[in-house]
């Protein structure tokens, strides 16, 4: 269902709050995959606060929608979303990465309420999502599975094995989303291992490809609607994003794939995030 201005303001505010919480969690954790968390947070905000049928009181509800975080290294981005949603106490975030904590760099399904799968080794999420999609069809359940992948992750062959099979089985109940921030550990995606023509790759695998600005909540929401209403082929949303989006010194900089902050940098992050979202919220309300 398309979002209206009221939804937009609610979601944009939520995305701002979650960005703050991610920065704090990185600090509590000592360090973390902050760049890819900030590029993906707007997508996760729309999914968890607009799209997905979930119940934090009943995290194992059989008919809930599933979210598979295939780019599992951004646990530090997803855990704040789940905690904020009420799946577990926010206090847990303060123990992130600590010895014996339920929360570590790559989240464990058997320790984190609300997490639908453990991930971390890349290229695993889409096969898992296909399994969920096929099992839902077999069991006549109508839930959807949303799989969020990194673009660097698209180097993995297993991802394309799954893409081929999703298309073969026309598993339209699996919605593939690529966080196309164009950065990976060792550099920019096109320098390390070229992905372009990226859209063509997905088209040739039989997908309905929806290319959007992954930081525009209207576009994210509309893309999901379009994916839902496409039944002749599965959909992939290629969300063009910026690594570290919302914090100026990190933005579009692959050096911030993984980082730690001192108190000064932490404060700078929070200032930047407020400034970034304030501008957008004001613009959405017709400017000053």
């Amino acid at each position: 269902m398309a979002i209206n201005q009221e939804d937009f303001l609610r979601l944009e505010t939520k995305a701002r709050d979650l960005r703050h919480l991610i920065i704090d969690t990185v600090v509590w954790a000592g360090s973390g995959h902050v760049g890819g968390s900030l590029s993906a947070i707007d997508i996760m905000t729309v999914l968890y606060h607009q799209t997905m049928k979930i119940d934090p009181e009943n995290p194992n509800w059989e008919d809930r929608d599933r979210f598979i975080l295939s780019k599992g290294h951004i646990g530090v981005g997803l855990a704040p979303v789940l905690a904020d949603k009420g799946f577990f106490p926010k206090e847990w975030l303060k123990t992130y990465n600590h010895t014996g904590s339920n929360l570590g760099m790559h989240l464990d399904k058997n320790k984190v309420p609300g997490l639908d799968a453990s991930a971390g080794s890349l290229g695993h999420g889409l096969p898992l999502s296909l399994g969920l999609g096929l099992s839902a069809k077999y069991k006549k359940q109508d839930f959807k599975t949303y799989c969020l992948m990194g673009d660097g992750e698209c180097d993995e062959g297993s991802l394309w094995e799954a893409a081929m099979a999703i298309s073969h089985y026309n598993a339209t109940n699996v919605i593939s989303i690529v966080d196309r921030n164009r950065c990976m550990m060792d550099g920019r995606t096109e320098d390390v291992m070229g992905l372009e023509p990226f859209t063509d790759k997905w088209i040739s695998f039989g997908f309905n490809v929806i290319v959007i600005n992954g930081h525009n909540l209207y576009e994210i929401s509309e893309a999901i609607d379009q994916a839902h209403s496409t039944s002749d082929k599965p959909s992939v949303i290629i969300a063009n994003t910026l690594k570290g989006c919302g914090v100026e010194f990190m933005q579009d900089n692959y050096m911030y794939h993984y980082a730690s902050f001192d108190a000064e940098k932490q404060a700078e992050c929070h200032r930047d995030i407020n400034s970034y979202h304030d501008t957008r919220l004001v613009e959405a309300q017709g400017g000053l």
């Binding site: 059989e62 453990s118 080794s121 695993h124 889409l126 898992l128 969920l132 099992s135 094995e161 081929m164």
Partner: protein, 335 residues
């Protein structure tokens, strides 16, 4: 076991993998949560039998093993009990990351029935032999590892795997196995060795194709040599039956292990670990593939070539009976 019983009539007509296919289909008839998956080896692994009866319950993922195991894990996340079949070499190595992370780490209810184990596809060469899987798979936490001795035991193992919650790896052979059991009516329990031949002079601990050979060797040793060999069918490699091993160490002080696998890391190693930690001295010999990539040939010939056929077991048993370790209280002179 599960109410499904099979007899020698089935085992005469059907190969081990065909008995697996039949058992799975019978189980599926009773349990709607069972589905099957393969990667273009539905026919070879005989999981295809399930698809003949229930086409909508067998998923072919094409020649893509990583996606095969990941998809199975996703199905298990939604409460199904996927049976996955491909060749043992691909299950244990081509898609090991998925088996490790998606299935074992998440402790999902996926049953891996790997065929063409050991050297049973002997003519195919090393790319299709699998003499490393037991070593690899028994180091995966949460995973149960079973190597049935023959077709009847495969029927029991498949039913027991379904009844057990959690991931299970069952390794079977290509083609027909020598019959150890005439029916499924015997005491099969995961993690419990079955004594097939009584003895107090030495113990032969075997799994898979080694079991029939161990029992035949024990008969010869009894009749020709007067050696009383205990034979244990150690069908479960993990969790290993420590009690049966410790009893064998205590009662017989001589142990031979027989497996259709590299002698590194498999049944022999699992037995050695228990034995070494017992603190009791024991004459010990592992039979299997001697840490080499196998030559090409028929399964029977290859087992003979590497010394774990009946004759190989016999000569090792005779050699071990000659060891005088029990009277040796001066170790220094042997260093």
């Amino acid at each position: 076991m599960g109410g499904l019983n099979y007899t020698v009539i089935e085992s005469t007509k059907l190969s081990t993998a065909e008995l697996y296919g039949k058992t799975l289909t019978d189980l599926a008839e009773q349990n709607s949560d069972i589905v099957g998956l393969s990667a273009d080896l539905a026919k070879s692994t005989k999981i295809g039998v399930l698809g003949q009866k229930y086409p909508e319950r067998l998923y072919n993922l094409g020649i893509a093993e990583q996606n095969l195991f990941g998809t199975a894990a996703g199905m298990a996340l939604n409460g199904l009990v996927p049976f996955v079949s491909t060749f043992a070499i691909f299950a244990s190595m081509r898609a090991l990351d998925q088996v490790h992370t998606d299935i074992c780490y998440q402790n999902l209810n996926v049953k891996i029935i790997a065929t063409h184990g050991g050297l049973s596809f002997g003519q195919a060469g090393t790319t299709h032999h699998c003499t490393e899987d037991l070593s690899i798979m028994r180091s995966m936490a949460n995973l149960t590892v079973i190597v049935p001795a023959d077709g009847m035991e495969t029927c029991n193992a498949v039913q027991a795997a379904y009844e057990k919650n959690g991931p299970v790896y069952i390794r079977i052979n290509r083609g027909f196995d020598q019959k150890v059991y005439d029916s499924t009516e015997y005491d099969f329990e995961i993690g419990k060795a079955v004594e097939l031949h009584e003895g107090t002079d030495l113990t032969i601990i075997a799994c898979g194709a080694g079991v029939w050979r161990a029992r035949e060797a024990a008969k010869v040793l009894k009749n020709i040599d007067g050696i009383r060999a205990r034979v244990l069918n150690m069908h479960t490699i993990k969790p290993i039956d420590r009690e049966a091993i410790l009893k064998a160490v205590h009662d017989t002080r001589r142990i031979i292990t027989v497996e259709d696998h590299n002698i590194v890391g498999g049944l022999g190693s699992a037995v050695a670990e228990v034995m070494a930690e017992s603190g009791k001295a024991c004459a010990f010999k592992r039979l299997g593939v001697p840490d080499t990539f196998s030559i090409i040939g028929l399964h029977e010939d290859l087992m003979a070539h590497y010394g774990y056929d009946v004759n190989g077991i016999l000569s090792t048993a005779r050699e071990l009976m000659g060891a005088d370790f029990e009277e040796d209280d001066n170790w220094d002179d042997e260093i």
